[in-house]
Amino acid sequence: MDLDLEVKLAIYRHFAETGRRPSVEDVGRRLGASADEVSEAYRRLRSSRVLVLESNGVTIRMAPPFSGVATQHVVKAGEVSYFANCAWDALGVPAALQAPATVYSRCEQSMEPFRLEVGRYGPEASDWLFHCVVPAAHWWDDIVFT
């Protein structure tokens, strides 16, 4: 297994286990790799759009569906709470974990709170709607805004 794949899997395992982003040092400890080696892998993973990094180039902003920063999209699965990047990614967390979860978010128009139970094979019935402003061809022009 090449280092980039090992780093990617270590990042996702850390998010899955803790709900929080790993530091370069966290990933290095898991893999027995140096911080420099992990940092280089982060940059390559950013280039292939696996990760979105903060401007310092070594802090994870997004490892979709997980968010490295607090957002209004919170997912609780078992004893762990996760932040998701958007409503799509909020459902992506239980899909990635392959585990039941509860999604908490809100309507951006009314600020009405939103709660959705998601089972192993999908969410409960809901009449809420998802609205994405950015067309698919432009999602990665500015993925944080998208």
């Binding site: 459902l91 709607l129 432009h138 022009d141």
Partner: protein, 73 residues
């Protein structure tokens, strides 16, 4: 939603039901924690969107209808 978009100065786009959103979430992320996972490429994206009934040009990952894109997905 139309009113909110007007207030925000944003265009109104196609709406996605929760069951469709789950289909998107599964298609993108169900294998994300596994070694062989990868993000869908444009042809796969079109198939996923079509299967979920998302057929508007908005969902075309290579459409130039909304202006030039730097996106490679």
């Amino acid at each position: 939603m139309r009113e909110w978009c007007q207030v925000q100065g944003l265009p109104l786009r196609p709406m996605v039901r929760i069951d469709q959103l789950w289909g998107l979430a599964e298609a993108w992320y169900a294998t994300r924690l596994q070694p062989d996972s990868r993000r869908p490429q444009p042809a796969e994206m079109r198939q996923i969107f079509a299967r979920l009934g998302l057929v508007d040009a908005f969902w075309d990952p290579e459409s130039d209808r909304f202006g030039p894109s730097s996106s490679k997905h």
